[in-house]
Symmetry: C2
Subunit: 190 residues, 2 copies
Amino acid sequence: MIRHSFEITLPQWCIDMAASLPDALTATEDRMALAIELSRQNVENETGGPFGAVVAGMESGKIIALGVNRVEPETCSSAHAEIVALSLAQQRLGTWNLAEAVPEPLELVTSCEPCAMCLGAIPWSGVRRVICGATKQHAEETGFDEGARDPAWREILNRRGIELQTAVLHEQAAEVLRRYRASGARIYNP
Amino acid sequence: MIRHSFEITLPQWCIDMAASLPDALTATEDRMALAIELSRQNVENETGGPFGAVVAGMESGKIIALGVNRVEPETCSSAHAEIVALSLAQQRLGTWNLAEAVPEPLELVTSCEPCAMCLGAIPWSGVRRVICGATKQHAEETGFDEGARDPAWREILNRRGIELQTAVLHEQAAEVLRRYRASGARIYNP
């Protein structure tokens, strides 16, 4: 019997955390600190892999959506933090194209550079900026696989009018990956 | 207020169709014909873009999951037919890694070559073969954007032990894309 639907849900601690967040975080570093905190809490609460993401307004810093890695709890290999955050932003704003959604452009803030899948998803989402914490090197040093991401990924994004900033609070972001590895948790790439 | 979850559901006609399918389709062409029929019906029923996909057993041809493009109806830019079919297969089999799921390896049969996002998703899913109908050229001729898919995508898949077959029933698959374009329906890339 085929399945008819699938659902991806944020963990309860994340929903609780969202209720106590300010409406906006005006500094880029504060939005990244939130993405990293999501990655850390996701490990501590054992609700997925060590990755967090935020969709926010580029001008106001308004928090539109949160995401954490949900691959294992939701048995869904595409439930990366970035895909979760982008999908929840689209649900909230009622459009698959975030470029059409609000008066200001939106950005994706992610605790780690996107894998090949998430890089491919970004241009379809309508975000206009991507801000990354831990680098590909950090991810690979801790055993994660980024897939065959094009080395020219900055140009791939820029050509579509999407700005990229990397290595924002990268040491704090990488520390979560290291702690995850040290914990002996499963590194889940097929 | 942030959203806590999102759900992707097959359209009712697809659920109805599934109920009358045989358990298995032993010929590759028959599995592709099903993927193309899904793409055609998705257009005719106005339930998403002109793309369909099937996850099946490589040896038995057993139908594990169906997928159609649900980007516009579900307001989710990543709800491509391939992601939907892979996610529903993972839900059914209770694992994010389809390589671990069943005694036989599984394949993804898709009515059109995957975009950059779906190509990136395939290695994470655990399928061991990908079979494609319409080509990148067909997709682009009808106005669809495949994204920055690496021209060496066959090697990218092969390096991870994933076999690729392209242009299976490609004329029938491309005809659905052409009819979609001729209908004046929206070609939805940001």
